[in-house]
Subunit: 231 residues, 2 copies
DNA sequence: GCAAAAGTGTTAACTTTACACCCATGT
DNA sequence: ACATGGGTGTAAAGTTAACACTTTTGC
């Protein structure tokens, strides 16, 4: 297609990932301690340079998988960050993603090459971070708070089976305000995308709560019909 | 800061801009005809490689300014697009923006170096476009439809002084559904960010409509107080 | 039996929707 | 005088918000 020889172009860019989790108490963000320059020993969100033949979404999925071993996780592009001096090695833009993962404590085998350790950190008291990662996490938090009102991502933070109280707590933590129990239950059940299970919590020293699970198929149907989720 | 010499990194990336306008009839998108390879003679959204020392938002503002002569326009990052083969010259990701400009017909001096001409095109019947620009425009349209419900960007498409009917038409065009006149007026006025002017339309062959303007300051105040715009 | 959380309905306030006619102006 | 769009209110339906007590279970 080119009529004359066109110059080769090439992007070095990175993909960074804000990974949210929930431990039943607080919203957490997964941070690594970098063991490479630049910013060796600093805390950072996990990220890496994209490979040349790799789709940008794939690169983000790879970063997440390397760190957590997880696949098929809710993940969405946040935006690109490109201040000219954000990276000491030159002009490197980054495309930030955020992911939401179930059961924030288990299943981390986080030692990709550039990280010495990975830690869950409370989302509202983060340490100083490498690069412009502070800015990225703040943008991801803002997006999460916004998105949770239109997309049922609360479920992504919970195990497959959960009680309504657990679900409510997630909304309270993310939206940072108390919610009336009766109103919450009425509304969330009225959508019809929760399946009531014949199971109850075990190992609690009080009345056991009934468990529910999220019915993705019913949710998709509702979405087709222009359904709008506003808990 | 580096303890040893780190390799230089460098991103070639482009910034592309979906520019929306409104001519009183339809939502329009500003397209250029490329006069350079790759994709010479193809229609495309305006864009350019970012300069090395340039912030990514600045680069987008520059692209818009080169094409339209406009500054201080509503503009927001959409997202990065980075399929590995989206650009024939190599791995070049692009960061897409969308802008909304007043008075879609005037004030274009669109001849930056890589474009032979610029044309307003109806947003819902676009021609074939260069690169992955079709995908980008579709994403921008989706974002616009969504954003107009929470952010008063309808005003950005109108001249400073406008009638309520003109404003309503914009919502109808973008949301693609009819709106009840009385309900629309009641609601939009109830927000209190429209200033009623002592002026009327001129040159119309029927009763002249009262003109209003958008009061940015009042809007900012409302936003402080957690106000949520849902027309 | 008591501590702890689960579970459950009703009412008032508010918001949204549906709907039709007279008014002002230019031709 | 007529054509064109401007401007206006009300009532019914639906949604949201506020609120407190009984039930189940483990210890």
């Amino acid at each position: 297609m080119p009529i004359r020889k066109l110059p080769k172009l090439h992007s070095d860019f990175s993909v960074d990932c804000v990974i949210f989790g929930y431990d039943g108490e607080e919203l957490k963000v997964l941070l690594i301690e970098r063991n490479e320059e630049p910013f060796a020993k600093w805390m950072a969100i996990p990220g890496n340079l994209a490979q040349d033949n790799e789709d940008i979404d794939q690169a983000a999925a790879r970063v997440l998988h390397d760190l957590t071993g997880l696949e098929n996780v809710f993940m969405e592009q946040l935006q690109a960050f490109g201040a000219p001096n954000r990276h000491p090695q030159g002009r490197v833009i980054t495309v930030a993603y955020y992911a939401i993962i179930k059961s924030s404590v288990n299943g981390l085998h986080p030692l990709s090459s550039f990280a010495t350790k990975a830690v869950w950190w409370p989302a509202n008291q983060l340490p100083e971070l490498a690069f412009d990662h502070q800015q990225i996490v703040q943008a991801a938090l803002k997006r999460l708070k916004n998105r949770i009102r239109y997309v049922p991502i609360g479920f992504e933070l919970l195990p497959e089976k959960f009680s309504l109280t657990e679900l409510q707590e997630i909304y309270e933590v993310i939206l940072d305000k108390p919610i009336d129990k009766r109103n919450f239950r009425k509304k969330i059940l009225s959508y019809g995308f929760l399946t009531e299970l014949n199971q109850k919590q075990t190992g609690v020293s009080h009345r056991a709560a009934r468990l529910y699970k999220f019915n993705q198929k019913q949710y998709e149907e509702l979405k087709q019909n222009g359904f709008y989720f506003v808990p």
